[in-house]
């Protein structure tokens, strides 16, 4: 039976989306609406916020309260929305460059506050929208148009970054592991505090082509063959894990949520009168 998710959650008149053939972003976006559906959220009470980049075009196709902001700032806009109206379920869709380069400061501080925002980083290891420049998650020695001789920067591990900065829910999946992505996003939506799901996405047009990763199918197969769960990784040596992608739920440790803590102050002051 065909899925009714598209009819139910997408602005079908805006489709097809702008992404290149073979891009992993569409699969991830579908997983997000699948998770929203499974979580039983009211469309009117869901707000999806994005920054600038390929991934950040997703909200335009999604039938919720949607906000396409400035480069890197989605989490700062989203923080305003969540604090002003905590009953909204606020979801941020962002990319590796948007979230961890230009928006890196907002990212770590949103984690630190543990504000109730579910953030999905579509990590395609490259700046796609501008044509293939290296990002903070481009692996060392790999190429981008601005790293023609190989990238000498060390890459961020977005999940480690979020976890260290204080996010209360952290997980990683890939565009191949659609069911896992759905599960992680659903769990993230159920977490009151700040949640981060990194969704590794293939960019055959730029990252793949620049780094000889083959076509879109080859890239999907690579995720299938090289993504390792934490349980499986425990049995592998450090050498065996080199170049592999660790997937699964890494942290689920509920902590007091920011806007609830603020509401306590308001309530306390109201009682003190």
């Amino acid at each position: 039976m065909p899925s009714n998710l598209v009819e139910k959650y997408f602005r079908t008149e805006k489709l097809p989306q702008i992404w290149c053939p073979g891009c992993g972003h569409g699969v991830i976006t579908r997983s997000i609406v699948d998770a929203i559906d499974q979580a039983g959220l009211d469309k009117d009470k869901v707000c999806i916020v994005s920054g600038i980049g390929c991934s950040s075009r997703a909200p335009g196709y999604m039938d919720f309260n949607t906000l396409h902001t400035t480069h890197g700032r989605a989490l700062a806009f989203a923080t305003g929305i969540k604090l002003a109206k905590p009953e909204l379920k606020v979801i941020v869709i962002t990319g590796d460059g948007d979230a961890t380069a230009i928006g890196g400061n907002h990212f770590i501080h949103a984690c630190r506050r543990n504000i109730g925002i579910t953030t999905i980083v579509y990590n395609n290891n490259i700046y796609g929208m501008t044509g293939g420049q290296y990002s903070p998650t481009t692996p060392k020695h790999e190429k981008g148009t601005t790293a023609p001789f190989g990238n000498i920067d060390k890459a961020f591990d977005i999940c480690d970054l979020a976890s260290a900065a204080g996010a209360s829910y952290v997980g990683r999946s890939t565009a191949y592991h659609a069911n896992l992505t759905t599960t992680l996003v659903k769990n993230a939506l159920n977490n009151e505090g700040f949640s981060l799901v990194e969704a590794v996405s293939g960019c055959p047009t730029y990252y793949g082509r620049k780094n000889k990763k083959g076509n879109a199918v080859d890239m999907m197969n690579w995720y299938k063959d090289n993504a390792v769960t934490a349980a499986a990784a425990a049995k592998l040596s450090e050498e065996q894990m080199a170049g592999k992608i660790l997937i699964g739920e890494f942290k689920n440790k509920p902590e007091p949520e920011y806007t609830s803590e603020y509401q306590k102050i308001i309530d306390k002051l109201a009682k003190g009168r």
Partner: protein, 377 residues
């Protein structure tokens, strides 16, 4: 009932005005000489059920204010020169996405870190041209503590009425000066709220303007699901690559203010009826200008003052009328000549224009203005 008079700082009057106007959301970052606005907001907002957040940087403060406003809360941030520079991109976002909000800039000496504790009026052109692209601007400039209260209320009213960011351009003197102020009773204030849609939820066209060129704005989360973007967009709010749509949008945003400029523009003038010289000034400098005028009038010199309260859009029609009657307009400002460019644009070949400028971090004294008037006569 006798009203309570309070000794109050300009920055405090700004927060009092904001809360009286209905501000219920503040996001910002500490910066001298505006910090008291954040501090007092942090203390007062939770008592009225409002929200305050200290963001990680100036850019985030502006972004969060836009987010807060989209949920329907009247929102404000405050900053000074370096932070005003950082906020510019998102001020442009608020302009193109038509988000009502108030941005306070308590001006200090620049460029860069400059003179954090000293007054300046070096940001008045940045207020007009700071963000990229063509866009509408409303900027107000108070010259007293009481007027800071009044203009903060007005800034919110204009932001709500015209769906756009409104700038309150204070300066360090006005921000930190203390004066006796009698705050009006809330019932005496005119408070304007944004137009909200009353159509069926599935009929809402988010950026379709009414005859006043202002589209009704729905709060996020009440059933009008729509899209907001900083890209050029059509009336539905979705991005468009059409050159026609781009032209229509940008012209409408600018026309929105042009159409209503007589509602927006305010100024104050004194002794202009028989004046041979007019001292043009704004913000704290207008206090020195007034003292200078009195001293000169005592000597029999026919001097008047002109003070734009709204600096953008500029009160050009009235200034041109006055220019035709006087020998000289002297523009006194704490920069090396910014608003004088606007005065020259309007009044060149009509009257003579001269300047008093200062960028030392010191204020302009009445004697300096008196000396300039005596020099030109």
């Amino acid at each position: 009932m006798k009203k309570e008079a309070r000794l109050m700082q300009g920055n405090e009057a700004c927060v009092e005005g904001a809360i009286a106007a209905g501000m219920r959301f503040y996001a910002g970052y500490p910066i001298t000489p505006s910090t008291e606005i954040a501090e007092i907001s942090a203390e007062k907002l939770p008592y009225v059920g409002g929200k305050f957040i200290q963001m990680e940087d100036e850019i985030a403060g502006m972004a969060a204010v836009i987010g807060g406003s989209l949920t329907g809360l009247k929102s404000m941030t405050a900053t000074s020169g370096p932070g005003f520079s950082l906020k510019q991109e998102n001020i442009g976002y608020a302009a193109i996405a038509e988000i009502p909000c108030v941005i306070v800039d308590v001006q200090r000496g620049g460029p860069s870190t400059g003179q954090p504790t000293c007054p300046s009026q070096g940001d008045v052109m940045q207020a007009k041209w700071g963000t990229h692209g063509d866009h509408p601007v409303i900027a107000l400039t108070p010259s007293s503590v009481k007027e800071t209260f009044d203009l903060t209320v007005r800034a919110f009213n204009l932001a709500e009425k015209y769906r756009m960011p409104v700038l309150l351009m204070m300066d360090e003197v006005i921000g930190h000066m203390r004066e006796k102020v009698e705050l009006p009773d809330p019932s005496e204030l005119e408070i304007i709220d944004r137009k909200r849609p009353d159509c069926d939820k599935d009929k809402y066209i988010a950026f379709k303007p009414d005859e006043d060129l202002v589209p009704p704005m729905a709060d996020f989360g009440i059933g009008y699901r729509y899209h907001v973007t900083g890209l050029v967009h059509d009336e539905t709010g979705f991005p468009s690559n059409s050159t026609k749509v781009a032209d229509q949008l940008i012209r409408r945003l600018v026309d929105k203010i042009e159409m209503h400029k007589h509602d927006i523009i305010q100024w104050e003038e004194e002794n202009t009826e028989d004046a041979e010289v007019i001292i043009f000034s704004y913000g704290c400098v207008s206090r020195a200008a007034r003292t200078a005028m009195k001293a000169l009038r005592d000597k029999g010199v026919k001097v008047g003052t002109f003070r734009p309260i709204t600096i953008w859009p500029f009160p050009e029609e009235r200034l041109l009328e006055l220019a035709k009657k006087v020998k000289t307009i002297i523009v006194a400002e704490m920069n090396l000549g910014q608003m004088v460019l606007e005065v020259e644009r309007i009044c060149n070949n009509v009257t003579k224009i001269d300047r008093v400028n200062k960028v030392s971090g010191d204020i302009i004294y009445p004697e300096e203005i008196v000396a300039k008037v005596e020099e030109v006569l």
